[in-house]
């Protein structure tokens, strides 16, 4: 049963448009060193193809579709980008070969592809869990399987984080906050996986965290009460602080710094985690020059430290999702002040 699953997975894997490229680098036999910048940025940054591994100098990578709006909609595989008249600029982004201008680029990059995979996985997990609750009577049966796995997490987040921070109206916001939590969590966890379906540095990408922060910003400000807006625009401070609008300006800046901090926190933590792990592994390749004894010793240390960092990243993946959800809840709670206590 389990073996057949692996075979099916393997066959599916073969169906992916895997392209192999001949390695363009000249074979430096005596000093195999790596370009650290390229190595690190190649792993943590977004790209138009999903690089999997090199086998005997051959690059195994999935070429992803490029979607450009440049004088009409253009869709092609990244493998054919040169044939379609586009080249990569020094930032690694597609530009028009003739004009040198960057078109409106909504390509399905590695991160977008990862987002799709993780999102499908998340939706499946949660909907299958929800299906259990539809099909079973919770008053008579204890949750089993997926429901038993997810229920404690959902209940913990809802009761300990959302309910406490948001206040009495928490039920209106809990679907968003739970979605944010699980979305960040699954992307964080998939980011730790070293190989294809995972490994994309999604939550360590500022565009992703920016979108997340934007949603929290909307959730806070679209549903803020009259009282919340009064505290921003006309707070209870001496009149001279309001006549020259010092306090309102500070409060309005505060409206934006809150989601900004969310954006930066998640981005920086996840990016730093990836870079730390990659650097630790890079020690193995960097020390090849130092001879087999030192290289071997350092490799062992590097692997052990890598394992430690991987486990740490598991913790960080949860903590960052938790912190994002908790702070979002707190910000939403602050936008629903209780008039009696203020």
């Amino acid at each position: 049963m389990r073996a057949s699953r692996f075979i099916i997975l393997g066959l599916l894997f073969l169906l992916l448009p895997v392209r192999s490229f001949a390695a363009a680098q000249d074979d430096g036999k005596e000093s195999p060193s790596i370009d650290m910048q390229e190595y690190l940025f190649g792993h943590v940054a977004d790209s138009y193809e999903w690089h999997i591994t090199n086998i005997n100098g051959k690059e195994i990578a999935i070429s992803l579709p490029c979607i450009l709006i440049d004088d009409g909609l253009k869709v092609f595989s990244f493998h054919d980008h040169e044939a379609n008249g586009y080249t990569l600029n020094e930032e690694g982004k597609l530009i028009n070969s003739q004009t040198g201008k960057r078109p409106l680029d909504i390509s399905v990059t590695k991160n977008v592809c990862g987002l799709f995979i993780d999102s499908i996985l998340l939706v499946l997990l949660i909907l299958l869990c929800a299906r259990w609750y539809r099909k079973h009577d919770v008053l008579k049966e204890a949750p089993t399987g997926l429901a038993a796995l997810l229920e404690p997490v959902i209940v913990t987040i809802e009761n300990d984080v959302i309910k406490d921070a948001v206040g009495p109206e928490y039920q209106k916001f809990s679907p968003y906050l739970l979605t944010a939590f699980f979305f960040i969590l699954i992307n964080n966890l998939m980011g730790i996986l070293p190989c294809f379906p995972g490994g994309a540095n999604i939550t360590g990408n500022i565009a992703v965290t920016m979108a997340m922060a934007l949603f929290t910003f909307l959730a806070v400000n679209l549903f803020g009460t009259r009282h919340y807006w009064k505290e921003i625009l006309w707070p209870d401070v001496p009149i001279f602080l309001k006549a020259v609008p010092i306090m309102p300006v500070i409060e309005i800046v505060g409206m934006f710094t809150k989601p900004f901090s969310l954006m930066i926190r998640l981005f920086a933590n996840m990016l730093a985690g990836h870079i730390m792990l990659l650097s630790t592994i890079a020690v193995i390749f960097l020390t090849v020059k130092l001879g087999p004894a030192l290289n071997g010793t350092l490799s062992v240390i590097s692997v052990l430290f890598g394992i430690f960092l991987d486990v740490l990243e598991l913790l960080v993946a949860f903590i960052q999702a938790y912190v994002f959800t908790m702070l979002s809840s707190v910000f939403i709670g602050l936008a629903h002040p209780n008039p009696e206590t203020h």
């Binding site: 940025f41 943590v44 940054a45 977004d46 790209s47 979607i67 930032e91 690694g92 982004k93 409106l104 680029d105 909504i106 390509s107 399905v108 990059t109 991160n111 977008v112 987002l115 799709f116 999102s119 998340l122 939706v123 949660i126 909907l127 869990c129 929800a130 609750y133 539809r134 919770v138 008053l139 429901a147 997810l150 229920e151 959902i154 209940v155 809802e158 039920q171 809990s174 679907p175 968003y176 739970l178 979605t179 699980f182 979305f183 990408n205 500022i206 565009a207 992703v208 920016m210 979108a211 997340m212 934007l214 949603f215 990016l271």
Partner: protein, 167 residues
């Protein structure tokens, strides 16, 4: 690709994907789960409350039962005591009456015996008198020859007779 400048394409896809995920999960996912869990926790709380109530009423019932039992026991003890007293008093009264009756009977018997005795004594005395008279006659008839002696004897007899008469 630069790390700290957000890429428009990725932002665009992220908003779409997260929007879709949020829509799906907020509509079909989390509310179902949280509602079911909330229902269950309410049910559990309700059951706990009901169990507590049942326990309290059971306790009340047990206390009531104990009280009734205790009262019954006291009643029983009281009844037994009363009955015993009653019995004792009846026995005492009966024996008193019986002894009184016996005393009466004895008294009567004694009186009757005394009367009978008196009667018998009287009859005996008259018999004795008659006999004495007869004896006396006989003696007198035989002894009347000797006058002096007779006279003394007669006196003696008379004295004795008088004496016995007086008794």
């Amino acid at each position: 690709m630069s790390l700290i400048t957000p890429d428009f394409g990725l932002l665009f896809w992220m908003v779409i994907i997260f929007g879709a995920v949020f829509f799906l999960l907020a509509k079909f996912g989390f509310p179902v789960i949280t509602k079911a869990v909330r229902e269950r926790s309410e049910h559990i709380a309700e059951s706990l409350r009901a169990a507590e109530e049942a326990r309290l009423s059971l306790e009340r019932l047990t206390a009531e039962q104990d009280r009734i039992l205790e009262r019954t026991r006291q009643e029983q003890a009281r009844l037994i005591k009363e009955t015993t007293d009653e019995r004792n008093s009846i026995i005492a009264k009966a024996s008193e009456e019986a002894s009184a009756e016996a005393a009466k009977v004895m008294q009567k018997a004694r009186e009757e015996i005394a009367a009978e005795q008196e009667l018998a004594r009287r009859e005996l005395r008259s018999e004795v008198s008659a006999l004495s008279v007869a004896i006396a006659e006989k003696i007198v008839r035989k002894e009347l020859e000797d006058t002096g002696e007779q006279k003394a004897l007669l006196d003696k007899f008379v004295d004795e007779a008088v004496h016995s008469q007086m008794n």
